[in-house]
Symmetry: C2
Subunit: 408 residues, 2 copies
């Protein structure tokens, strides 16, 4: 019998009425002849409520204990769904992370799944049950509860789909699928029928918050086909799968943006070997993730400029480190820009098509948008611009690359 | 190092301020040189909130799944206490039932603890940690979450005290200890310094809701000394321990009452062998617990009267069964009384003192209170009376047995 893993996000199980709708959809899939494993998130708002409760207890709650509290959100929603399914006449059983040995490392709050034991699930499916799994949680080698970070239930679903060898992993959310860009700022945004894992990874990490990045990595590694779709309608969503030749024909697949960016530049650093290393060692020791890095050396004068971007949340700390190191190294100045955004073009077509970058720069120049930094990868080009131009940039690029038109 | 197990009830951890008070008390005990294991209930009202949520999902929620939901109450309060203790500079770790292998049978909602694994607790205590355990929950042989019923955290605490060989098990609640009777209806009610396990068992099962009965059974079986006391003050409470000669000197220890009673009488049942068995088989098959049973046979006429008491909640179902069986057996009538209460005298002194029963009946007669049924055990005499006389009866008996006076 074919097997489908379905994951329902927080808004899809926001209240009992919504949970009953989810139950109907699960039953419909069951009636179509599939074995079904359901992964659920906490009811919308619950994780924040629990987080606030823990922070009221202590501003920086012990991480091990915080995970114990956060895990209850999914514990409740999974059991509620099982209760509803049973009451509708379908045998169902809920499982917590530890009960099906969703084993993770010990990084509380952002743990990574290392293995899942499929035995109990298979035996329940064999006995005709619907299996409901609490997403977002696991257990480390010590038997402590861990959580997987925001969007972690996506990864739970994909990991389970991988272990069970499921035919499909459906991710139900409150949007219809993956769009060429954010429909809230660009009316022409178009839903993509298919997108490759690599494109999705770039889209997700660049701020399109449809899937947790790690779930896409998992899906890519184990070849799990994902169908991202809405639990509020019957519309087909977006399939995330292996790259195919169709995808390559398109120049780019989407435009993304991220306003949670800040830029720091240290000017006229005496250009000695090891200067950059010394600086980024200090930054990474402070657990700050640096995104773009650009170093320009003026060989004549023996000076270099170093610029990098970080997330806005890390900005104050990064600035402190930059200033103290600039003094130490005898640099001229530290320029801090908190009002910058990153706009990116993503597409596997870039591998075989040239001219994407120049077309992008021309489109931005045409609108008078100054590019402060550029970084590129195999399937992505990103530019740092003033935050105020973000929406204009996204619309212009979407238009310039004709993303609103159906792919042939 | 001496070891104390402390259990804090729902009102003692009702909110974060209360949890911080609990933390201070735990730390005080730690600073006095004790190893401390803390067992906590859910925050007051939480279990009811969760129960209502499950019942909204389905009027009769699947029992396995209901326990998954109910267990989150203690999961949250135990982790919150650990967070607060850690923030106050004391290393603390919370454990859920399954993490320290609190193994139970599979009767969801009223499971019985069969074993506890002390290994993790000992190793944490050895490393200087305070251990916090989520009360009320366990795990059955299949790995399913179970709960122990109302007051189940008391039993968790006593079971852990038994396994660890603790020197004392303190049960912190919102009353000062065990009283000779309910202070709300009798001003002369006096707090008992000490009470035997057997007396406590009779007191608890008769409606003095200070300790879960099963916790007292456990304490008796494993010789755990319990100290019932208030978390809202420093007053000494009541010690529950082995019977001693002091206790035997007192005629009775307390008066209890239970208004959750109903009485059914089947009159003129043709008196054939097996009639009673047939009737009580039907009642117990319906999972109804019968308390008192009185059968009076009139040998001349070949008829018997059968009377029994059940809890008010079981009354409608029991009445239905009684009526249909009465018809079948050709009995004359079924008399149903829903407005009855049980008043009881409890005391190990009864074993050696005579005249307690007659003194009790005289005291009730003096107030013109009619006794509808009587039952006795080694250390208890109970009478069924009209509910409206309950308070009067309790006060009269308390007075007649001079329970307000200090035991010498």
């Amino acid at each position: 019998m074919a097997l489908i893993v379905q994951k329902y996000g927080g808004t899809s199980v926001a209240n009992l009425d919504r949970i009953k709708e989810v139950a109907k959809r699960v039953i419909k899939t069951r009636e179509e002849g599939y074995d079904v494993v359901v992964v659920v998130s906490a009811m919308a708002g619950e994780t924040d409520r629990l987080l606030n409760l823990a922070r009221e207890a202590a501003p920086e709650p012990d991480e091990r204990e915080l995970d114990v509290i956060l895990a209850t959100g999914e514990q409740i929603s999974s059991a509620l769904l099982a209760i509803v399914l049973n009451s509708m006449g379908y045998k169902a059983k809920s499982y917590l992370g530890h009960q099906i040995k969703i084993t993770t490392d010990s990084f509380h709050g952002k743990a990574r799944i290392t293995s899942v034991d499929a035995e109990k699930i298979f035996s329940d499916l064999h006995e005709g049950r619907i299996v409901v799994v609490a997403g977002f949680q696991g257990e480390d080698e010590r038997g402590d509860i861990t959580t997987l970070g925001r969007g972690g239930s996506d990864t739970t679903a994909v990991a389970i789909a991988a272990v069970l060898g499921a035919d499909l992993c459906e991710i139900y959310t409150d949007v219809d699928g993956v769009y060429t860009t954010d429909p809230n700022i660009c009316e022409q945004a178009r839903k993509l029928d298919r997108i490759s894992y690599d494109e999705m990874l770039e889209m997700a990490s660049l701020g399109t918050k449809v899937l947790q990045i790690r779930s896409v990595e998992f899906a890519k590694k184990y070849g799990v086909t994902i169908h991202v779709r809405s639990s509020f309608n019957e519309t087909k969503g977006t399939i995330v799968c292996e790259e195919d030749t169709e995808m390559e024909k398109a120049l780019v697949s989407g435009v993304t943006y991220d306003k949670n960016q800040a830029r720091i530049e240290i000017t006229k650093v005496p250009d000695r070997p090891g200067v950059a290393a010394r600086f980024f060692d200090a930054i990474s020791a402070a657990n700050i993730v640096v995104d773009m890095i650009i170093q320009t050396a003026s060989l004549e004068e023996g000076y270099a400029n170093m610029a990098f971007t970080i997330s806005k949340t890390d900005f104050p700390r990064a600035l402190g480190i930059a200033r103290s190191l600039a003094r130490e190294l005898g640099a001229k100045d530290v320029i801090a820009e908190e009002d910058v955004a990153k706009v990116s073009m993503v597409g596997v077509g870039m591998r075989s098509h040239s001219g994407v970058a120049s077309k992008m720069f021309r489109a931005l120049a045409k609108e008078g948008i100054n590019i402060k930094m550029i970084s590129t990868s195999e399937i992505k080009i990103s530019c740092i611009i003033d935050t105020k131009y973000t929406e204009l940039a996204v619309r212009s690029l979407h238009e310039a690359f004709e993303l609103g038109k159906e792919r042939k």
